[in-house]
């Protein structure tokens, strides 16, 4: 599903530049649930942004579902993001003047799905994350965990090939974190490919594979026995 080859990225800051990703290689198959770990500043978010086409690598190859991702203009990148990817952010990033349902329906709006279908689908995904009753509430009427579940529903709404989650539990307490991970595991059980950036060991072990980044290189890439989050909920 995802193939990266010798990926490099540096940030220029004035005269000097900071080499953040120093030649990464890995591949992720369909249906995997991968945790990306590493200490702060190791380049996890940078990698995820490149995979999410929000940022571009300086060199190296990136193939997503057989499509080479390079030299994208903004219009094309937007289209690919909409079609291929779902994002889950640490700070939820819901649009605060739109209801939960409208937030979930947003990616479908950009696909020009008619309103009625859009709303049906949004309700469907909201009930999957257990928030059907909250469909018409605004984000600031929801708890952190509920917001993240709305965000997950939104990421799922367009039925993307890959879900990218950058510290999805970073702003949540451990109980809520496990609820969110339970949800992510269930989505993965349905066959969806998911990447989760985290620096929490317990969260990482709820995935099926852990990729360890350190100073811009992969120092470890191992399969793990998945810990089911449901037992903590």
């Amino acid at each position: 599903m995802i193939e990266i080859n010798n990926l490099h990225k540096s940030y220029k800051m004035g005269a000097n530049s900071l080499h953040v990703l120093k030649g990464l290689n890995f591949s992720i198959k369909e249906g995997e649930l991968v945790a990306i770990m590493g200490s702060s500043g190791s380049g996890k978010s940078t990698l995820l942004n490149i995979l999410g086409m929000l940022d571009e690598a300086d060199s190296g190859e990136y193939t997503l579902d057989g499509v080479p991702i390079k030299n994208l203009n903004e219009t094309k990148a937007a289209k690919y993001r909409n079609k291929f990817l779902g994002f889950i952010f640490q700070s939820f990033n819901l649009i605060n003047y739109k209801s939960a349902m409208e937030n979930v329906a947003l990616p479908l709006y950009y696909q020009k799905v008619p309103r009625k279908q859009r709303e049906e689908k949004a309700i469907k995904y909201l009930s999957q994350v257990g928030l059907k009753e909250w469909a018409h509430h605004l984000p600031n009427e929801l708890s952190g965990g509920q917001k993240q579940r709305v965000a997950i529903a939104r990421a799922m709404a367009a039925e993307p090939k890959v879900l990218l989650a950058d510290e999805p539990t970073g702003a949540l307490d451990s109980k809520t974190s496990y609820e969110v991970m339970d949800l992510i595991q269930k989505i993965n059980d349905d066959g969806n490919t998911i990447l989760v950036v985290t620096h929490e060991e317990d969260i990482a072990h709820m995935c099926k594979r852990i990729v360890h980044l350190k100073d811009g290189v992969i120092v470890e890439d191992k399969k793990v026995d998945q810990v089911r989050a449901s037992q903590y909920v």
């Binding site: 219009t75 937007a78 994002f87 950009y110 309103r115």
Partner: protein, 419 residues
């Protein structure tokens, strides 16, 4: 582009901060309001002054003789001369494109002594010896009887057409006027018609106190021989009297052995030139109205642009999220542009409506208090309104352009990072 969701979003954004939206809209509102008011005031002035011109054929000049100021062909300067009836025919022969050439003679005048008597009543009136065409050059409406005709001219009938003002001065109320006689400097004329002039100018009263008699009978009754006091000459439509007046004056100078370069020997008043001058004044007024109005509007538009920039700035994060979710940058740009155009047009329409209401009120007040000098019926044409709308759409586009550009300038990743 015009789907329901887009409009919902526009309304959501604009109503999320009412106070700011109204304040922003006010700039454009005020600009258009001022523009409409200025244009309609200009139109009111124009209507008022045009009314003073009345129905007078404006392509007309008046011409009279004065003393010469140059000696010529053995004749001394300072010599007086008088137009003759022959001058009329030689002008007609030598100058093409003339519609009317009316020789005129005149008795009395403003503030003159009493010259007209009827029974025990007397009055001081202007008495003109005229050809029938004069009614086409200085229009009046016949309120009873008829105007002069060519039989009157040929048979030198002692008939007169008198103004309503003369009727008021010489007759009792309700008294029969037609067929009665008035005595002008001792000569009896029978009244065959009465008239009323439409002109609302300052000399409106004076205009109703005139007496018209046939040119030929006038000459005979008051011993003018072939003399012509002055002439009213109108050119054909399509030819301006201003262009050919020198040819006309050259003819009479030639006839009376006046030096061709003697500028003062023939006096004239060119109505067309005056008319043109007034017209160009209105052109200038219109220009000023547009200039001021558009400048005020421009400051309103800059206000809109400024607020839109702030709105975009505030929404940086949101725009970042939407782009991460796959919204086309063009769609975002369109959204900002439409917000700006919508705001501009709504406030502009309000300005136009209030302007129209204001004009309506002014007109009502004018109607209630009777006519005012040099000002009548201020109004704006549909063309101006449509023009204003086009200006609004363009300004809305301009106002939204920079903010729209800046909305997609920030890369989504940077937009997401801002908190």
């Amino acid at each position: 582009m015009f789907n329901k969701d887009r409009w919902k979003e526009i309304l959501e954004v604009l109503t999320s901060n009412w106070f700011r939206t109204v304040l922003t809209a006010f700039g454009v509102f005020w600009g258009i309001f001022i523009l409409i008011i200025l244009l309609s005031a200009g139109k009111g002035l124009e209507n008022g002054i045009m009314k003073d011109f009345g129905d007078i054929a404006t392509n007309t000049m008046f011409m009279w003789s004065r003393a010469t100021t140059k000696s010529y062909k053995g004749l001394p300067k300072g010599r007086s001369f008088i137009f003759k009836t022959d001058d009329v025919s030689s002008i007609r022969e030598n100058v093409p494109d003339l519609r009317f050439i009316s020789p005129r003679n005149q008795l009395g005048g403003f503030g003159g002594a009493n010259n007209v008597v009827r029974g025990l009543r007397t009055g001081a009136y202007n008495v003109y010896g005229d050809y029938p065409e004069i009614i086409r050059q200085d229009p009046m409406s016949i309120t009873a009887g008829r105007f002069l005709n060519y039989s009157d001219i040929e048979e030198k009938r002692k008939v007169a057409v008198i103004g309503e003002g003369v009727v008021g001065g010489l007759y009792d109320k309700g008294e029969e006027v037609l067929g009665t006689y008035i005595k002008v400097q001792g000569v009896n004329f029978m009244v065959v018609g009465t008239y009323k002039k439409k002109s609302n100018g300052g000399d409106g009263e004076e205009g109703q106190k005139e007496i018209f008699v046939p040119f030929t009978s006038f000459s005979q009754a008051f011993n003018r021989g072939n003399d012509v006091g002055w002439m009213a000459i109108t050119a054909n439509d399509g030819t301006s009297i201003t262009e050919i007046k020198n040819n006309i004056m050259a003819v009479v100078k030639e006839n009376h052995k006046v030096h061709p370069d003697d500028q003062r020997a023939v006096g004239h008043f060119d109505l067309y030139e005056q008319f043109q001058r007034v017209q160009s004044l209105f052109g200038a007024l219109r220009f000023v109205a547009y200039f001021v109005g558009i400048l005020v509007l421009l400051s309103g538009v800059i206000g809109v642009s400024n607020i839109m920039l702030i709105v975009v700035k505030e929404r940086t994060k949101e725009i970042g999220i939407r782009r991460a979710l796959g919204e086309d940058p063009w769609s975002i740009k369109l959204q900002i542009l439409m917000e700006s155009i919508f705001l501009t047009i709504i406030s502009g329409m309000a300005g136009i409506s209030f302007g129209a209401l204001f004009i309506y009120l002014i007109n009502t007040i004018l109607d209630m208090n009777g006519p005012v000098d040099m000002f009548a019926n201020p109004s704006v044409s549909l063309g101006v309104v449509i023009g204003a709308l086009i200006i609004l759409i363009v300004s809305g586009l301009l106002a939204g352009f920079i903010p729209a550009q800046s909305a997609i300038k920030v890369r989504p990743i940077e937009a997401l990072r801002t908190e």
